[in-house]
């Protein structure tokens, strides 16, 4: 926290000292680039953190600029005019949130579609701004916009812009280090995993986009009085593209990068463009190089300074996380004649099976039997073509991963699905926070101190989890499996779905995992459904075994009963075809 305050104050001080050193002319010039920096700051947030590439931020800058222009033209010298600033930013942010939440709803990892939608929107906005002369002044725009009342000359407005920029940088810096920042990075890293922990990924992503757009709105609101002119060019895709370039060139993953990118490229362009026709070619080339080789942009040059960045110390006193309501019974699930088809291929062909009294149910079967598909259709990753799925007595009509997760179902995937770019601690935190956080908790740094008895136990059993600042990508395959299992367990689920939990593990790791599963089963009222091939595991863990074959139920019983069953043996050796 100390680092954060010091850094923010230093930045603010630096910004405020410029005019005395460089003169009024520069105050005016820099004012514009600070405004660009504000908008670029937002692009860096939504792109660098949440992985959402916005190709149309200019539209939000333009909307806010036009609104503020009208406000200033109407209220001229009254202090009410200042209200335009927060009003424009908030309005734009709300619009952006609604739009993004709608588009992201129910869609995983849709690739560049969202980016292309923002591009199309800004192109449309440009046309509207050009044509709607009565409101926007058409092609020539709105002119002779008065400045903000009470501010004389370029210097005053500069200070306002500089302070707002400094505060915005501090705010974004804070957000990135708060739980919401971790959630944004988690969404960019592995949306599916985040959804399966019960988070509303659409809202989380929309929040990032809305914050970015709010910053763009603030930029637009300042643009009007600074330039005294608002034209449709703000909504054009050249400007939106420039913002992306500023963020990329500066370094999109950092807070300061986009701002520095905007200022450096902006200032140098203004200076060199006329003298140096090759300047813009140079910028384009540098941008391409950044995309190819230098994702960190200019900020990689400042990498040594990262030591002074806002680092969370590992020795933080732990505090107890709020408990989750404990329900006495575990979840039951029943499949009734469930059918699933993908294209021409029938995956589940009238599967009927239900859980009974057993705590651990192992599902086995040859290749293509539909084992993983059973878990997928139960949690909403595959659409159902027929039959019913009943979880805990309630018919599940159109399951969604997050909804199923919030009913107490935790899932561990066949290939370990964690957040590779996040640290171990962050991975565990995201899992721990699920279902426990309320309202503005996402802004509270205290959440990083949360822990639970279950988590402590897992930390005791698996020492590597204590090296919390290591990124999850540095873990071995086996460690990743165990991390994912831990994350699933600390959500204190009522049903745990494990898909080959010991795949790729050494014998020692397998033994440790089996032990942990046995222990957890005792601690929580847990029903565990395991898909496995390793009969050793099945023998040690299973209370009951279900055999699937070609998308249908084949047999069930205890391990011995299933092993003696001639139909089951036939299916494994391939002689019954």
């Amino acid at each position: 926290m100390a680092y954060f305050l010091v850094r923010s104050i230093l930045i603010l001080a630096f910004l405020i000292l410029i005019p005395p050193l460089l003169g009024e002319f520069w105050a005016y010039q820099l004012g514009l680039y600070f405004i660009y920096g504000l908008a670029a700051l937002g692009v860096g947030l939504t792109w660098g953190q949440a992985g959402i590439l916005p190709l149309g931020q200019g539209m939000f800058v333009a909307i806010a600029a036009y609104l503020t222009a009208h406000g200033l033209l109407a209220f001229g010298s009254s202090p009410i005019a200042y209200l335009a600033l927060p009003a424009a930013s908030v309005l734009v942010a709300v619009l952006a949130f609604a739009f993004a939440a709608l588009v992201f709803r129910g869609r995983f990892e849709q690739g560049p579609s969202f980016s292309l939608i923002t591009l199309a929107l800004t192109l449309a906005a440009f046309q509207v701004a050009n044509g709607w002369s009565s409101v926007t002044g058409g092609f020539n725009g709105l002119r002779n916009i008065p400045g903000l009342p009470g501010l004389d000359g370029f210097l005053d407005l500069y200070y306002l812009i500089a302070i707002l920029l400094g505060l915005s940088i501090a705010a974004v810096d804070y957000l990135l280090h708060a739980p919401i920042g971790v959630l944004w990075r988690a969404a960019a890293d592995n949306e599916r995993r985040l959804a399966f922990l019960g988070y509303d990924v659409a809202v989380i992503k929309a929040a990032a986009f809305a914050t970015a757009s709010g910053l763009a709105g603030l930029a637009g609101a300042l643009y009007a009085p600074q330039q005294n002119l608002v034209t449709p060019d703000l909504a054009g895709f050249a400007f939106s593209g420039d913002l992306v370039i500023f963020a990329a060139v500066g370094g999109r993953a950092t807070v300061l990068g986009p701002v520095i990118g905007a200022i450096v490229v902006g200032v140098l362009s203004a200076e060199l463009r006329d003298r140096f026709p090759w300047w813009e070619i140079g910028i384009a080339l540098f941008f391409i190089v950044v995309v190819l080789r230098l994702p960190g942009g200019l900020m990689t040059l400042f990498a040594p300074l990262r030591r002074f960045s806002f680092a969370r110390t590992a020795t933080r006193a732990r505090s107890a996380a709020p408990g989750k309501p404990r329900i006495a019974t575990s979840l039951s699930v029943a499949f009734e004649d469930v059918r699933v088809r993908v294209g021409d291929v029938t995956i589940l062909d009238g599967l009927s099976v239900r859980t009974g009294e057993e705590a651990v149910l192992c599902v086995i079967g040859p290749n293509g039997a539909g084992k993983t598909s059973t878990l997928n259709v139960m949690t909403g990753m595959l659409p159902r073509r027929g039959g019913r799925i009943v979880i805990d007595g309630a018919d599940v009509l159109r399951p969604q991963p997050a909804i199923v997760a919030n009913r107490g179902v935790a899932r561990k995937f066949q290939t370990p699905s964690v957040f590779p770019k996040l640290t171990i601690d962050e991975n565990l935190s995201v899992a721990l926070w699920a279902g426990r956080w309320r309202g503005l908790d996402v802004l509270r740094l205290g959440l990083f101190a949360w822990t639970s008895p279950l988590l402590e136990e897992m930390r005791r059993r698996f020492q590597f989890l204590n090296a919390g600042t290591r990124p999850a990508s540095a873990l071995s395959h086996g460690e990743r499996q165990i991390l994912e299992l831990t994350m699933a367990l600390i959500t204190e689920p009522r049903m745990l779905l494990l898909d080959e939990p010991c795949a790729g593990l050494s014998h020692e790791e397998t033994a440790a995992v089996i032990d942990a599963i046995q222990w957890a089963r005792g601690e929580l009222n847990l029903r565990i459904i395991i898909i496995e091939h390793d009969m050793e595991l099945v023998r040690r863990l299973a209370d009951r075994v279900v055999v699937l074959h070609q998308g249908r139920f084949l047999a069930d019983g205890s391990v011995e009963e299933v092993q003696r069953n001639p139909e089951v043996r036939a299916v494994y050796i391939g002689g019954s075809r």
């Binding site: 199309a120 046309q127 509207v128 044509g131 813009e280 941008f287 995309v291």
Partner: protein, 284 residues
């Protein structure tokens, strides 16, 4: 009245065919290879400038076609090697890289030729009289050429051995390598063909529009969204997209205004991107 409808009908067909030719290069690069080449418009622009240069040199206009194909193909070769392959043909990354490429190409052309508009003279002057209405001869010639090119290309794609190998590679790249298709080289050649097509399309439209460094921007928008709506990677998708977007533009431009047509096209594209991002006839 019939004459008016006839001319309108011809216009719609014309718009659809021209758009199909303009989109062709992008359909190859984006539809088959999943490369989001947002500099596609710049390749068209370079083709148009090639036509200008050829005409200024006094050479027959037809020579502009191989000239443009060569220039754009050569640039495509460099781009594939330096941008697309290092980024592993990944959509997001190639979108960004080609955005930079587009800037670069625009600036280079601006440096070489200046910002002003150049005009390319229509190589086939006059108009033909059809059903009592006169229709520009060049447009008719373009329609004929476009139809011919598209038809032969599609026959080639479905019949020729290389066409089959491209289809194989696109549908199942792992198996393609297994049966001996050198996918790296085939992908590269396919990409270069895409950029060359864009250049040739530029030659075709050069006489009809002011040739200036920023002309590519209008083409890329229409092309991109034609593929979004029609669907990527299929012949049906290309035709559907070109017909819907091109036809829509044509009809609405005449009936209401070009701006409304443009906005309508954008709104439809947004709808598709939101609900049906793979388009009407996507690759299975």
């Amino acid at each position: 009245m019939e004459a008016l409808l006839f001319t309108q009908g011809l216009n719609v067909i014309y718009e659809a065919l021209i758009l199909a030719i303009l989109v062709l290069g992008l359909a190859v690069v984006m539809g088959l290879l999943n490369v989001l080449n947002i500099a596609h418009g710049e390749f068209i622009m370079i083709g148009a400038y090639a036509a200008y240069v050829v005409q200024r040199a006094g050479l027959p206009y037809l020579l502009a076609i191989p000239a443009a194909a060569l220039v754009c193909g050569a640039i495509g070769l460099v781009v594939e090697r330096c941008l697309i392959r290092p980024l592993h043909y990944e959509p997001f990354e190639t979108l960004l890289a080609t955005w930079g490429l587009g800037l670069l190409l625009r600036k280079c052309v601006e440096l070489a030729f200046g910002r002003g508009y150049r005009s390319v003279e229509i190589p086939i002057r006059g108009s033909l009289s059809l059903f009592g209405e006169s229709y520009p001869a060049y447009r008719l010639a373009l329609m004929a050429v476009a139809a011919l090119v598209l038809a032969s290309l599609f026959i080639w794609y479905r019949r020729a051995p290389t066409g089959a190998r491209i289809r194989a590679m696109v549908g199942n790249p792992v198996l393609a390598e297994a049966v001996g298709i050198r996918t790296r080289e085939l992908a590269r050649n396919t990409f270069i063909t895409g950029t060359a097509f864009a250049g040739v399309a530029g030659v075709m439209v050069a006489p009809l529009t002011p040739v200036e460094p920023f002309m590519g921007l209008t083409f890329i928008v229409n092309s991109f969204f034609a593929l979004v709506v029609g669907g990527m990677g299929t012949v049906a998708g290309l035709f559907a997209g070109a017909t819907i977007i091109g036809g829509l533009q044509s009809v609405l431009s005449a009936a209401v205004s070009p701006t409304s047509a443009y906005i309508a096209m954008l709104l439809i594209s947004i709808l598709f991107l939101w609900q049906r991002p793979r388009g009407l006839f996507p690759r299975p």
